[in-house]
């Protein structure tokens, strides 16, 4: 596949991420606009940071949910932070599942929280696969700036 075709693939992939609501185009474009010669791979760096940080938060959430008497206040605080960072990268579906989780949390519904957390992790994982494939395509198309 030649370079032009690859670049078209990248554009198509990017559009589909927006159309399928994996990503909020407005927010994601904001991040893309922050890339320049000094920060050529900012978007990928931020996404990598997000996944590293969310692993840490997920661990805390899981630990809290495993205790005999669940501290819903703490759970809500952790999920609030995760929701915030998800929306900062424009992760719509993930953010929506977070809101669902928070509702169960407010109601003190442990079962609901367990169920909602599975959905959060699922969307989180799906988005990761999608983004990895997108960044891979970008590299192949030579769209990643080399300083």
């Amino acid at each position: 596949m030649d370079r032009n075709q690859l670049q078209r693939q990248v554009a198509l992939k990017r559009s589909s991420l927006f159309e399928q609501q994996f990503l909020d185009s407005q927010q994601f474009v904001q991040l893309e606009d922050l890339e320049d010669d000094a920060n050529p791979n900012f978007v990928e760096e931020i996404v990598t940071l997000f996944y590293k940080d969310s692993a840490r938060l997920f661990q805390k959430i899981e630990q809290t949910m495993q205790s005999r008497s669940i501290d819903f206040g703490k759970l809500d605080d952790y999920m609030h932070q995760f929701k915030g960072s998800s929306s900062s990268i424009g992760a719509i579906k993930v953010k929506n599942e977070c809101s669902q989780f928070k509702e169960f949390c407010s109601a003190g519904n442990a079962e609901g929280c367990f169920w909602a957390f599975q959905r959060v992790k699922q969307e989180h994982h799906t988005l990761r696969i999608q983004l990895e494939s997108y960044f891979q395509l970008r590299k192949q198309a030579g769209l990643v700036r080399r300083v």
């Binding site: 606009d33 922050l34 760096e45 931020i46 940071l49 605080d77 609030h80 900062s88």
Partner: protein
């Protein structure tokens, strides 16, 4: 900072316990040519601010770090101790939280995720704050230039310019400092004495 360069190089301290948000905000502010220092919590922020009081022009801080208490405590401390303007930010767009932020002295409250354009004009808070600090210093230096009188509607003391020579702009920040001073001084009459002598 040179006048014609302003607001380029405005020194901003950014506080957020979420790394993703912290890095994005840093990058946004840098792209606007501001100078950014970032840190992950209230304690670290206060350490940095106390180390060199004159170093920063403005602070931008998250509310939940991880609870509201940390965010609002930092807001109050920075306002009272360093007299710097503080912008609060949060993905919490609850009106009560926003109101609480303003009452505790925040000069602005940004709801996350925000666009870069929301940050473009934050330098205005720096200018406003500096003006208010100058006015406050003048009022304290020459108390007769600004007399505090009891408002008819409630028991609040409000600033009323005497002889129309100096105008004091009464901000939430000033109000907070004023409340602290009154509490320290105790009885109202003592307070009046202080300002009419």
């Amino acid at each position: 900072m040179e006048e014609d360069e302003f607001p380029i190089g405005l020194k901003i301290l950014v506080v957020d316990d979420d790394e993703t948000c912290l890095f994005i905000l840093e990058r946004m502010l840098q792209s606007l040519k501001y100078q950014v220092t970032k840190c992950r919590g209230a304690e670290e922020a206060l350490c940095i601010l106390r180390e060199d009081k004159g170093k920063f022009d403005i602070v931008i801080s998250d509310v939940h770090m991880p609870t509201m208490e940390e965010g609002f405590k930092l807001l109050e401390t920075v306002g009272l101790e360093m007299k710097l303007p503080v912008i609060m930010m949060s993905s919490d767009d609850n009106h009560e939280t926003m109101k609480k932020g303003i009452i505790h002295g925040a000069c602005d409250y940004l709801v996350k995720p925000f666009q870069r354009t929301a940050l473009r004009l934050i330098w205005q808070h720096v200018v406003r704050n500096r003006r208010n600090m100058v006015a406050l210093a003048a009022a304290v230096a020459e108390p007769k230039s600004c007399v505090l009188v009891e408002d008819d509607d409630d028991d609040d003391l409000v600033a009323s310019p005497a002889k129309k020579r100096r105008r004091l702009v009464w901000t939430a920040q000033l109000h907070h400092q004023f409340v602290t001073a009154v509490n320290q001084l105790g009885h109202k009459s003592t307070y009046y004495e202080c300002f009419t002598n």
